[in-house]
């Protein structure tokens, strides 16, 4: 009754409504599936380590050598510390011993800053980190990209008497460290040649 007595126009109307409903259903289902999928892919992604780029965009950025300057959690002033007579190696204690120059823990900072300049807002941030028992999440400034496959060792450079500013710029003028010197391969090779050090590829790339 309801079905076979309808005329052509109303059949079309039914078809249109059902079509729209179907499409809407598809959209909703697709959204749900996408959510499912993102949940499914996001979870294992956090559980594996891979040198692959997280996104195509990041790969493109790296290809064109685009690296934004990092934003540090605390506006640490190298300028002030150096002006107050500190030396690089006082904090970066590993620099003449191994590959990594090392950044001191907030524990080390607090040896002075329990008493010095405690009212400054940046020091308050530091104290907050310290009180929570957390390390300050410093962002990497230099460092070679993983795709450069460079293994840099600080110690031999310090032993050879290379000035820190050669690679890091004049720290007496910087607050947080910025990428003041472009660490291209040409930069490394030039200095190695001047100092008559090996420029064999596997000296750095392995």
């Amino acid at each position: 009754m309801l079905f076979y007595r309808r005329n052509f126009k109303s059949w079309i109307r039914i078809a249109v409504v059902m079509g729209i409903a179907g499409l809407a259903g598809l959209v909703v289902e697709h959204g749900l599936a996408a959510q499912d999928q993102s949940a499914a892919t996001a979870a294992p992604e956090s559980q594996v380590f891979t040198p692959a780029h997280p996104t195509v965009w990041s790969a493109v950025q790296e290809f064109f050598n685009y690296r934004p300057q990092p934003v540090q959690p605390i506006q640490f002033t190298h300028k002030v510390h150096l002006a107050n007579g500190l030396q690089c190696v006082m904090c970066h204690v590993g620099v003449d011993q191994g590959p990594d120059a090392r950044i001191p823990s907030d524990n080390f900072c607090m040896t002075c800053h329990r008493v010095i300049a405690t009212d400054k807002p940046e020091i308050k941030k530091l104290t907050a980190y310290f009180n929570r028992g957390e390390d300050v999440p410093w962002q990497r400034v230099y460092g070679f990209l993983p795709s450069a496959h460079v293994k840099f060792n600080h110690a031999p450079h310090i032993r050879a008497g290379v000035d820190c500013s050669k690679c890091h710029g004049d720290m007496t003028k910087q607050t947080v460290a910025v990428r003041a010197v472009d660490h291209t391969m040409g930069f490394c090779i030039e200095c190695h040649q001047q100092r008559n050090v090996s420029v064999d590829c596997v000296t750095c790339h392995y």
Binding site: I189, Q193, V199, D200
Partner: protein
């Protein structure tokens, strides 16, 4: 087009075109004023030999020598450019056979490039605004004409072209 004065005849027959060129010569028109155009090379006809001489093969050979020299220098330089010798497979730094191959390929590339450049320059190509042209050439006609004739010689030239067998006589510019 209209800015250039010219008189030209359109010929259907290449032999008649030959006669037309001769007629213009006899009228005292200088060599570089005579213009011939055709949609085929018409090899074997006398007018096809106009401006025949060229040093293109010698230029191509020279280009080849220059290309080869560049090739060898490139092969040599790129192998010794890095401050420390990049030895591979126990080969000498400037390995003879590979350098010879690169030298050879760049010799050929030099010759090809020189030939093309010579062609473009000496055949006066890449000039899209030609002073004189008639699209009837593409329908099989041969154009024989005079660039920049004096107004006084107009009827004489027209008659000479017509008697040589021109099917049509056209003029451009103010005559």
């Amino acid at each position: 087009m209209a800015s250039v004065n010219s008189i030209y005849g359109l010929f259907a027959d290449p032999d008649a075109a030959d006669r037309g060129v001769n007629a213009l010569r006899h009228a005292g028109v200088a060599q570089d004023q005579i213009v011939v155009m055709s949609s085929e090379p018409h090899e074997g006809h006398a007018f096809s030999l106009l401006d025949h001489k060229t040093i293109m093969p010698w230029l191509a050979a020279l280009g080849g020598v220059v290309g080869g020299a560049c090739g060898f220098l490139l092969a040599r330089y790129t192998q010794v450019a890095y401050p420390e010798p990049l030895i591979t497979g126990g080969m000498p730094l400037v390995a003879p056979f590979p350098s010879a191959i690169v030298t050879y390929e760049l010799t050929m590339m030099g010759a090809v490039i020189t030939t093309v450049v010579t062609l473009l320059i000496t055949a006066r190509l890449l000039k899209w605004k030609q002073p004189l042209y008639d699209s009837e050439i593409s329908y099989g006609k041969i154009l024989v004409g005079v660039l920049g004739p004096s107004g006084a010689a107009r009827t004489d030239l027209e008659n000479r072209l017509r008697s040589a067998g021109a099917e049509k006589i056209k003029t451009t510019g103010q005559l």
